[in-house]
Homo-oligomer: 654 residues x 2
């Protein structure tokens, strides 16, 4: 009996992924020849070794695909396999009911049924009551009549007895596969990126700047936590090299006081395990981590595996770099461009030594209380290295999370996710039209969701897309609403609240990029003046907290609208998986054209949330508070300048 | 160095398929970290054990997909794997050329190049001339200068030396996989189905009918061969049961003289190894096979594994069927419908006995000269049985071809192909609109082509679609043109030439289905009167014979047209794979609306046949003889009633 295409599945044999609290659809294609009924089971073994059996239900006719959705609550490696079997009772009950109505084969079908029920009544693992009930049903069939036959074939108690312990013949199973379940933050979270040196930086009267420190940056934590973020991500905090230090706006010459790029790591003050003296000491850093924890924030560090020419590695381990025939060490380059403030590591030269050092660096920070790493450009280092490093660190501490900052070709990004990165940056910033977003959201929710968890950053210190540059305040609102609701992980780089949308001309990054200088931002004043988007971010994170459907990756459905700029999608979680027992459904309708007002009709597959097409239900806009009666075809008006997005909650009918 | 998604690939580990003469694209996703160049090889081992190495070229930017297309000419099981490597020369040549232009790192790049060339010049497997050339190139770099560096980096002789024997470092490879190569007729052919009893049948004065025989049916063979068909497929030729025999139009009662359905197999005259006495003897059958062979036709037999109640199996092996509690044998049924002229086999009851008998039946007909079997409803028998039977028969004779007549769900049809059926009926008859055909043709050409070979029958004795019922002569012309050009295997059931398009009311099959009676057709008269489509079929098969691009499955590309009924696709074969050395390209433009005249513009990706967008080229319509000058955007007018389809040959520019 064929069993094909079991999912979750990851290409190339790596374990599939889930997070604690994730509702995972376990699917398989199963069929057999002819018309006889089959059943399919999922056998699940949790990390403690406890085994459970779950019955699958068939999906749409003609697909031969079956599914059981399971809420996964235990961290660790699970094993699962599918088992199919000929369901003798279901086959008999179907045929008997049909034939009873048609009045044919009553005697034969009654005899077959009695035989089946009698055998089942003898099975050891049935209760005495169940055995009596099955025997009684068999006895009724001793006097064949169409109505008796139909009644037994349709008897709910009999059906329940066979559903719990199917009477099967034949059977087959898939191979065992592994599902790696990680802590919830691996799959759910709101991220906030910032440069600690800017927070509390002071411009002196002579124009020079006194750097912010961990102690001053700490004061920003309540503000970030107050907006509902879960993770505070710091760009590299290590000593910054001085050789060929870059100046403002990525220029090759520095002015006195230019702080340099934190990605040019390493100086006489230390390397990847060191802390830039201007930020403070290791003790200050630990205090920062503790303060964040008190606010409910986890600290994420940047892991950028490259060295400034002043890095201690250069003197201690010149063999870790590429030495040219003239005896110099090769700069990072993309010929003919050169990056003269950075030496790339050459992992092929001394893999054993480099691997061990990188493991040491990561575990050093884990010891300081850091369990999340945002990995800079992982695609420029060997895939095998990451696979090794992530596995090694997992052995020490399974709660460590790595986010891959790879903006490159799809095959490479997917491979990084498959070999173990817990999260991945995605193409989200460059998917802005309705058609682009429909394809993107479907892909991340369904095609790659067994192994790739996208972190939908709306901007970064290096990415200010044309959409944000030219879309004004509306663009910032639209993108935040989509990122916060379309995937369970999203992120913001500090300054998004202030709509910092001026680019360095011709580039896709901010003018006066914070990478090369300090930023002075008036968070409170901006909010007082009603300019800040902080209230919107606060509201979006509150909506995420209140709605478990938004904290799932695989439950997104795209719906139709008649307007080419009005994007519609829903997120649905069945009541079986919510704390209240009520199902949780959100419908997001976004006008993705930040320059216009759009009126159109949206067409919804309401069966997803249990409403028959044509039936009414109430929705409440969680942003405006408006309440409407909707059905499957609904008028919407979205004014980019006033109310570009609806985030609608479907109210349960009482 | 990652290597992912090698193709050809078949789900669930079965061998991939090709046929002798097929041009197979071998693809793999390959990349490495950073900017360095890589190379990818295909290592092929033919059935004789001879090994060859083929360099892959990268496909579209960003896909990381590489390809080598290979014409496979030897029957048997091939093995293949992919190997990737860091291409040190390509990396150097690229960087050196760029830096020479920019005027940076001239000395260093010259030194690196000299080192590489000197090492390569010492490699044992290079000719003395090549060694001298490489040494000389290295010597030129001894005096670094931008122009010298650029010249050596761009030197064609140097590049050729490294292309033939790449200077590589690192490397990885995929696992070995198997490609099963079968004879050409497994993948290419034009099929003609007929009922031998109708050919030469004579209606007597009293209204009764004298059946046609193999001897009379033989007379039709020159006509079929003359239309260019390769395979003549006969519905079952075995003795027909009399118990519960079906009458005309599938009625439950017979009139005297009704011949019965040839699918109700078995009577006192014999079973699946017997011949219906009215058709002749085994000797007559062998004569028919010989006569077909003389005309260049191969005979295909129907393999319908089911029994009439009168089949010898029923008495000899009642255990092969399902016995009901009342002692009777179960009829075939789809409750509450019953098929009382047929007993289905129950493969679970005595698999050893049934398997052996089926193998015996097939080998019996192989011994009579039959090497092609059209298998009736294989999806109602166990998948494992077919996998076993096809493997067993292949061991005896690798030239035997099985065509799966499974019209069921996609997963089942694909599984039958994957486990070994050489050909498959498809959804083609029900894919009639432009959108349906675009999706269908893309799917069969690219998604499933590693293991599934669709046989595009335009009709069968059981399928007369609404499109044909109501589309008139134009529908018949359109469907034949598409079937004959879109895939290398197509088929016609006798009567298609005569546009027999009257259905039994409410059904999807012909009125007076030939399954239950004799047909009297006037082939010659119809053609003389200009009514027959035989001239079109003849022309289509002649075009297929003249154009090797039409005898490939995987080379179809769908193009755009502005009209929702104008379907456009091309079939292209590179000159490297044709006998003449000239590339072979056909563009098919079909108005699939049989009731209208359509004028529109077609938009072509001409780069597929080596023409830059905007450039002119000549095309010749192989149906009308018209010659036009085309470019990438072309006006077409397709009149369903006059000229519904263009089959255009792209003329090579001299």
């Amino acid at each position: 009996m064929p069993l094909f295409d079991p999912t979750p599945h990851v290409p190339h044999g790596h374990p599939a992924k889930a997070f604690v609290g994730e509702v995972v659809p376990f699917d398989v294609v199963a069929f057999r020849e002819g018309h006889d009924r089959i059943g399919v089971h999922l056998r699940l073994v949790d990390p403690a070794g406890d085994e459970t059996l779950h019955r699958l239900t068939p999906l749409a006719d003609g697909t031969d695909r079956w599914r059981a959705s399971i809420a996964i609550e235990l961290k660790g490696d699970w094993r699962y396999r599918f088992e199919s079997f000929a369901d003798d009772f279901a086959t008999w009950a179907h045929d008997a009911a049909v034939k009873a109505v048609a009045g044919v084969d009553i005697a034969v079908m009654s005899a077959l049924g009695a035989r089946l029920l009698t055998t089942a009544a003898k099975e050891k693992d049935r209760s005495a009551a169940e055995k009596r009930m099955l025997k009684a049903a068999a006895a009724r069939l001793a006097h064949p009549a169409p109505d008796v036959l139909h009644a037994v074939a349709a008897d709910e108690d009999v059906a329940a007895a066979f559903a719990a312990r199917p009477h099967t013949s034949l059977g087959s199973q898939t191979a065992w596969q592994t599902l790696r379940v990680e802590r919830t933050l691996a799959g759910v979270g709101a991220w906030y990126e910032f440069f600690p040196r800017s927070e509390g930086a002071v411009r002196r009267k002579d124009g020079s700047v006194k750097s912010g420190t961990f102690r001053t940056a700490m004061k920003r934590l309540p503000g970030v936590a107050g907006m509902g973020f879960d993770v505070i991500y710091l760009v590299p905090i290590h000593p910054i090299g001085t050789t060929n230090r870059k100046g403002r706006n990525n220029t090759l010459t520095t002015e006195p006081g230019d702080p340099g790029s934190p990605y040019a790591i390493g100086s006489a003050d230390g390397g990847h395990d060191g802390i830039h003296p201007e930020l403070g000491t290791e003790k200050d850093f630990r205090a920062f981590v503790r303060a964040a924890g008190k606010e409910g924030l986890e600290v994420a560090l940047d892991l950028a595996l490259q060295a400034s020419p002043d890095h201690p590695w250069v003197a201690a381990h010149p063999e870790w770099f590429t030495t040219l025939p003239d005896g110099t060490i090769a700069y990072a380059e993309n010929p003919p461009k050169k990056y003269q403030d950075i030496y790339p590591l050459n992992f092929d030269n001394d893999p054993v030594g480099i691997y061990a050092e990188m493991r040491r660096v990561v575990m050093h920070w884990v010891a300081q209380g850091v369990k999340i790493f945002r990995v800079d450009n992982p695609h420029t280092k060997p895939l095998a290295f990451w696979e090794w490093l992530i596995a090694e660190v997992r052995d020490e501490d399974p709660d460590v999370i790595f986010l891959a900052e790879a903006f490159t070709r799809p095959a490479v990004m997917r491979a990084l996710a498959a070999i173990g990165f817990q999260q991945s940056y995605s193409y989200f910033t460059w998917r802005n039209t309705k058609a682009e977003l429909e394809e993107f959201l479907t892909s991340v929710s369904h095609e790659t969701s067994d192994y790739m968890r996208p972190n939908l950053f709306v901007n970064t210190h290096d990415i200010l897309t044309e959409y944000l540059q030219f879309g004004g305040r509306a663009a910032y609102r639209i993108r935040a609403c989509i990122a916060a609701t379309a995937a369970p992980i999203w992120g913001v780089y500090a300054g998004y609240e202030l709509i910092e949308n001026v680019a360095r001309p011709g580039s896709e990054e901010n003018i006066d990029n914070e990478k090369y200088e300090y930023k002075f931002r008036d968070w409170a004043g901006s909010e007082e003046r009603g300019e800040s988007l902080a209230p919107l971010l606060r509201r979006l994170n509150a909506i995420r907290d209140a709605h478990p459907a938004l904290r799932q990756l695989r439950n997104l459905s795209v719906h139709w609208s008649d307007d080419d700029a009005v994007l519609v999608y829903s997120k649905h979680l069945d009541g079986a998986f919510t704390a209240t027992g009520e199902s949780d459904t959100l419908i997001i309708v976004a006008n993705v054209d930040p320059h216009s007002v759009r009126e159109t009709t949206v067409h919804l597959d309401t069966r997803i949330w249990g409403v028959e097409p044509g039936d009414d239900y109430e929705v409440e806009d969680l942003l405006s508070g408006a309440i409407w009666t909707w059905n499957d075809h609904n008028y919407v008006r979205l004014d980019a300048f006033a109310e570009p997005v609806h985030i609608l909650r479907v109210k349960e009918r009482s």
